[in-house]
C-alpha cells in the first residue's frame, strides 16, 4: 500500500552509521554557512593583524609592549600563535563558539526545521549529540585557524626558531611545534564547557540570538568573577579559570596535573550542562 511503487528504502542502518551520516550533513551545514565562514576568517585575521602591526612597529619605542608573548613575536614567529590565542581567548573565541553553539538547536527551532528533522525521524538524543559535536568541531576549527594563520604569518614576518620557554630554557623548534600542538589541543578542550552551556541555552529558546547572547554572557561573567579576589574559593570551578593554563605547555616541565585540573573542570561543565541539555531537549514540546 505504498504510495510509490519503488521498493521501500534499504534496511535501517546501524545507529552509529546513521549518526555519522547526520554528522556529515550537520558539518556541511555549519561550515557551509556564510556567517560561520566569515567568523572563521575574522578570527584568522587576528594573528595576521597582530603580525602586521608588530612588523611595522618593531623598530619603534612601542615595540614589545602589550599582552603576554607579544614582545617575543618579533624574535620568533612561533610566538605569534600564542600572542594571537591570548588575544582571542577573552572574547573573540568565546563569541564565535557561543554563536555556533547557541544557534545549534534554537536556530533550527526558529527556522522550523527542527520539527521536520524530528519527524524524519531523528532521535532527539542523536540530534543533540550531532549538534554538540558539530559545534565543537567549529570551535576546533576556530582555534586551528588562529594557530595556523599565526604560525604562517609569524614565519613569514619574523621567521621561526628555537623556542624560549617561560622558564628561560630553550627547546628545539620541533619540540616547540609539538608543544604548540598541545596548546591548540588544550585551548580546544577548554572551550568544550562553553559549547555545552551554549547547547543547553539553545534548547531553552526558539530565539537563537538570545541563546548566543546568553552564552557569551556566561563566558564574560565567568571572566569577571575570576577577576574578583573575594571569590577565590570558587575560582577553580569557573568555566574560564583554567583557560590560560595552556601556558603550562611552555614551562620547563609540563605538569600533567595542572592540565588535568583544567580538563576536569571542563569535563564537569560538559557533564552537567550536557545532561541538562539532554533532559530539556528530550522532554520539550516542539511548538515552533
Amino acid at each position: 500500500m505504498s504510495l510509490v511503487d519503488s521498493p521501500p528504502a534499504g534496511p535501517p542502518v546501524s545507529s552509529a552509521r546513521a549518526t555519522a551520516r547526520l554528522l556529515g550533513s550537520e558539518l556541511r551545514l555549519v561550515f557551509g554557512r556564510v556567517r560561520n565562514i566569515v567568523l572563521l576568517v575574522g578570527l584568522a585575521a587576528v594573528p595576521l593583524l597582530i603580525g602586521t602591526v608588530l612588523f611595522v612597529t618593531q623598530d619603534t619605542p612601542v615595540a614589545g609592549q602589550g599582552p603576554p608573548f607579544l614582545d617575543r613575536v618579533t624574535g620568533n614567529g612561533v610566538f605569534l600563535v600564542f600572542a594571537a590565542l591570548v588575544s582571542c581567548l577573552p572574547f573573540l573565541l568565546p563569541l564565535c563558539v557561543s554563536i555556533v553553539s547557541g544557534d545549534a538547536v534554537a536556530g533550527e527551532a526558529s527556522a522550523g526545521t527542527l520539527r521536520y528533522l524530528l519527524v524524519v525521524p531523528v532521535p532527539r538524543t542523536r540530534l543533540l549529540l550531532v549538534k554538540a559535536v558539530a559545534a565543537l568541531a567549529y570551535a576546533a576549527a576556530a582555534v586551528t585557524a588562529i594557530a595556523g594563520v599565526g604560525l604562517v604569518a609569524g614565519a613569514a614576518f619574523f621567521g621561526v626558531g628555537d623556542v624560549v620557554l617561560l622558564s628561560g630554557d630553550t627547546i628545539p623548534l620541533a619540540e616547540g611545534m609539538l608543544r604548540t600542538l598541545g596548546v591548540v589541543g588544550y585551548v580546544v578542550a577548554s572551550l568544550t564547557g562553553l559549547v555545552a552551556v551554549g547547547l543547553f541555552l539553545s534548547t531553552l529558546t526558539e530565539v537563537p540570538v538570545a541563546a548566543m547572547a546568553a552564552t557569551v554572557v556566561v563566558a564574560i561573567v565567568s571572566g569577571v568573577l575570576d577577576a574578583l579576589p573575594q571569590l577565590s574559593a570558587i575560582h577553580p570551578a569557573l568555566l574560564t579559570h583554567h583557560w590560560l593554563d595552556f601556558g603550562e605547555f611552555l614551562r620547563l616541565e609540563v605538569d600533567a596535573s595542572t592540565l588535568f585540573a583544567g580538563l576536569a573542570v571542563q569535563a564537569a561543565w560538559v557533564a552537567v550542562f550536557g545532561a541538562l541539555a539532554w533532559s530539556r531537549f528530550t522532554t520539550a514540546d516542539v511548538s515552533s
Binding site: M1, L3, P8
Partner: protein, 329 residues
Amino acid sequence: MSGAEGDAGDAEGAGDAEGAAVRTRGLTKRFRSGQVGVDGVDLLVPRGAVYGFLGPNGSGKTTTIRMLLGLVSPTAGSVELLGTAMPGGGAEVLPRVGALVEGPAFHPYLSGEANLRRLDAADPTSAPGSRTRRIGAALERVGLTAAAGKRYRQYSLGMKQRLGLAAALLRPRDLLLLDEPTNGLDPQGTREVRALVREVADAGATVLVSSHLLSEIEQVCSHVGIMSRGTLLAQGPREEIADEGTTEVRVMTRPDQRAHAVRVLSGLGLDGARADGEVVAAPLGSVAVEKVAQAVVGDGIDLLGLEVRRPTLEDVFVRLTGEGFDVAR
C-alpha cells in the same frame, strides 16, 4: 446527527480488519499557560481514507497533528499511527509517514534540493544510493524541478509550500499528515494538491488533510472530522456527516405572494417555513417535493422556480462551529 463518539464506534468496527491509520484516545493537551488546546479527542482515520480535518482557526488541528507526530507530548491520552503507539514507536513508524506541519520550513540559505538532501541524510532508513533520484522525483512531482537549485530564501510562498510537499513525498509513505497544504497556493496549485492527494490515496496511502477552508478539501475527502475549541465535534464518512444536515425545499415566487406561500407550506405540515430573501424556504422533512409543487400551484401562487437543496458539508460545519468570524480563543 451522530456525535463524534458514536461515529468513532462505528468506524472502529469497520476498521478492525485492517486497523486504523490514525487512532487517538482521549487526546488532550493543556499548555503551560493553562489553556487546553486539545480536549479529549478520539480521532479515527481508517486506512486508505482521505480524512478532511476541519476546524476554524485556533480549534486545535495543528496541535493535534503535532501530538500525532510526537513533537508535542500529550497531557493525557494516547496516539497510534499505523498501529504503532506514539511517541515510543516513532523510529519505526515515522519513516512511513510524510508530514507537513504548520507550513513548510527549510534553511533559507540552502537550495531546495540541498534542503531535501539534508532531510534525506537525516533519515537512517533511507538509501543514500537512490537519494539523488528520489529527490529529483519528489521535486518533479510538485513541479519544482526548475527551481531546485534556487535558494529557499528566494522561493515564493507557493514554491515553499510545494517544497514542503516534496519533503513529505521524499519516500514512499503509507500515511500523509498534511496541515494546511494549500496555504499560499494559487488556484492552479490548489488543484494540483488535490490531484496529488487523490493520486496518493489511489495508490493506497492514507491522507489526513487539515484545513479551515472547507471548499478546498471537500471534494477530495472520503472522511471528515470537525474540530472546534479543541474538541472533535463530529467525524465519519463524508456523506454521513453531510446527511446530518436537513434537505430544504425553496420556492421562488413573486414578492407579494411570499406570505401566502409560507402559509401554504405550513399547511402541508412543513415546520419552519419562512421567507428567506427572495425565496420561501422550509425543511423538506418527509413531505414529497411534488406535493409541495402541486399545493403551491393549486393555491394560485405563481411558481417561478422550485429547488430542493441537499445539505452541504459547509452547512454542517457552520452549524457545528458557529458563524462568528472571531477566533474562538
